[in-house]
C-alpha cells in the first residue's frame, strides 16, 4: 500500500492497517504526535481504530523538545 505522508508518496508494509500502525511504522519510539487523515484531525484514542487505505493522505506532526 502507498500513502501520501507529509507530502511524500511512501510504501508501507502489508501489516499496516490503522493509523496506530502507521505511527509505529514511522517512529522507533512512542511519539506524541498529531495526525490528520484525509483532511480530518484525529483524537488520539481513535488512532488504533482508524483504518488506512491505499492513496490516503496523512499528515504527522511530532512534538519534540529540543531547542
Amino acid at each position: 500500500m502507498k500513502l501520501l505522508v507529509n507530502g511524500n508518496h511512501l510504501q508501507v508494509p502489508s501489516n499496516v492497517f490503522t493509523i496506530a500502525d502507521v505511527i509505529t511504522h514511522f517512529f522507533k519510539h512512542d511519539p506524541i504526535v498529531i495526525v490528520e487523515h484525509n483532511g480530518i484531525i484525529l483524537e488520539k484514542n481513535n488512532h488504533p481504530k482508524q483504518i488506512v487505505a491505499d492513496g490516503d493522505k496523512i499528515e504527522l506532526v511530532e512534538f519534540v523538545g529540543g531547542g
Binding site: N6, G7, K44, V61, E62, F63, V64, G65, G66, G67
Partner: protein, 338 residues
C-alpha cells in the same frame, strides 16, 4: 536619525506605524541557545523596544555550530550565555534595552519576569518549562510562540490565549522526555527555519498584524524533505486545566515542579521528574548509546559522559553524580533525557 529600519518600514504591513509600535514592545525570551540567539538577533535588528533573555547555562564549544551570537572566546571563558548574548546584541543595536538573567526558571521567577511583557518566545529545551510558560501565558493573557528542533526536524505553533488551543490541549499528556539535540544531534539550517517562523509570527504580533498570523501547527524535516501543516483549532478543550473555563494552571503548582535535592557529601543531585510513569530504560539506553557509556541492569540505567554520571531508575528518578550544583544537574538531566 538614520535609516536603519528603512527597508522594514517600506514593507507596507509594518510601515512607520508598525515600527513605532515595535519600539514600545517587550519580549521575554526563555532560553539563549540556538533558537534564543537566532530570535533575539532578528528582534534586536528589527528594533523591538526591550528583550529580557533568560538562561541558566554557559557557552560551550558544542554550541558554536548553531548558536549564532557566541564566539570562541565565549566558549573558552565559559561565559554565561545571557551575558555573552547581551554584549553581542548591544553591539548590534544599542537602542534596544537588553536585560540578561542567569537563572533556572521556575514558576516563581516567571511570575516576576512576566511584568510588562507583550510576548513570550519559547527557546527552551524541555517540556517541563514549556508547560510552565503555557500556564503563565494563560494566566496573564500573554501570547507565546512554541518552537523546537531535533536532528533535521523542526516544529512551531503560536498560542494565543482565548483564541487558540494551548500546549496542554495539543499534547493531551505530559511528555516523559525524548530525543534531544544532545542525543540525536541537530543541524543549523533547521534551527534557522524554526527561528524564521517564530520571529515572523513575533513581528506580526508586535506590530498588531494579528490577522496575518499563521494559525496552523507546522513541522518540517529539511533532510527528508517532508513538511506538514495542520489546523489544530478543534483541539481547544473547554475543560483544559490551563486554558479552559475553570483553569487551575496545574504547572504553576509546587506539586508539578521538577524536584531536586542535593545528596549531602556525595557530590550528587537527585532529580524527581514531574511526569509519573514507568520509563522504558531499554529505549533510553539505545538513544544514549552514541553519546557516552551506557550500562544497565534490571533496576537502573547508568550513563557516563565524563566527568558526570547519570543514573535513571524505572520511576524516572535520576541521580546526577559529579556535581552538587542543582542548576548544573538539571541542565545535564534535560540535555540527555529531554
Amino acid at each position: 536619525m538614520n535609516d536603519r529600519y528603512s527597508r522594514q518600514i517600506l514593507f507596507s504591513p509594518i510601515g512607520q506605524e508598525g515600527q513605532e509600535k515595535l519600539a514600545e514592545k517587550h519580549v521575554l525570551m526563555i532560553g539563549a541557545g540556538a533558537l534564543g540567539t537566532g530570535n533575539a538577533e532578528i528582534l534586536v535588528r528589527s528594533g523591538v523596544g526591550k528583550i529580557t533573555i533568560v538562561d541558566r547555562d554557559y557557552v560551550e564549544w558544542s554550541n558554536l555550530q548553531r548558536q549564532q551570537l557566541y564566539t570562541e572566546s565565549d566558549a573558552n571563558n565559559r561565559m554565561p550565555k545571557v551575558i555573552a548574548a547581551k554584549s553581542r546584541l548591544e553591539e548590534i543595536n544599542q537602542d534596544v534595552q537588553i536585560e540578561a538573567k542567569i537563572i533556572d526558571v521556575t514558576p516563581l521567577e516567571m511570575g516576576q519576569l512576566i511584568d510588562g511583557v507583550d510576548l513570550i518566545i519559547d527557546a527552551t529545551d524541555n517540556f517541563d518549562i514549556r508547560l510552565i510558560i503555557n500556564d503563565i501565558s494563560q494566566k496573564y493573557r500573554i501570547p507565546w510562540i512554541y518552537g523546537a528542533v531535533v536532528a533535521s526536524y523542526g516544529i512551531s505553533y503560536t498560542i494565543l490565549p482565548n483564541e487558540t488551543p494551548c500546549l496542554h490541549c495539543l499534547l493531551q499528556q505530559v511528555p516523559m522526555g525524548g530525543m534531544t539535540c544532545d542525543t540525536a544531534g541537530v543541524i543549523s539550517p533547521v534551527v534557522q527555519m524554526v527561528v524564521a517562523h517564530q520571529s515572523a509570527e513575533a513581528l506580526k504580533i508586535l506590530t498588531d498584524n494579528q490577522e496575518a498570523l499563521r494559525k496552523r501547527l507546522i513541522s518540517f524535516d529539511l533532510w527528508t524533505n517532508q513538511q506538514a501543516s495542520i489546523d489544530v483549532s478543534t483541539f481547544k478543550n473547554t475543560s483544559c486545566l490551563s486554558c479552559g473555563e475553570a483553569p487551575t494552571y496545574p504547572h504553576l503548582s509546587y506539586e508539578s515542579q521538577t524536584k531536586t535535592a542535593v545528596l549531602c557529601g556525595r557530590d550528587t543531585v537527585q532529580i524527581r521528574p514531574t511526569s509519573a510513569g514507568k520509563r522504558d530504560l531499554q529505549t533510553i539506553a539505545a538513544r544514549l548509546s552514541n553519546t557516552g557509556k551506557v550500562e544497565q541492569n534490571s533496576f537502573l540505567l547508568s550513563f557516563t559522559s565524563e566527568p558526570h554520571r547519570l543514573v535513571m531508575f524505572h520511576d524516572g528518578r535520576v541521580l546526577v553524580h559529579g556535581t552538587s550544583d542543582v542548576t548544573e544537574a538539571k541542565s545535564l538531566y534535560y540535555r540527555y533525557f529531554g
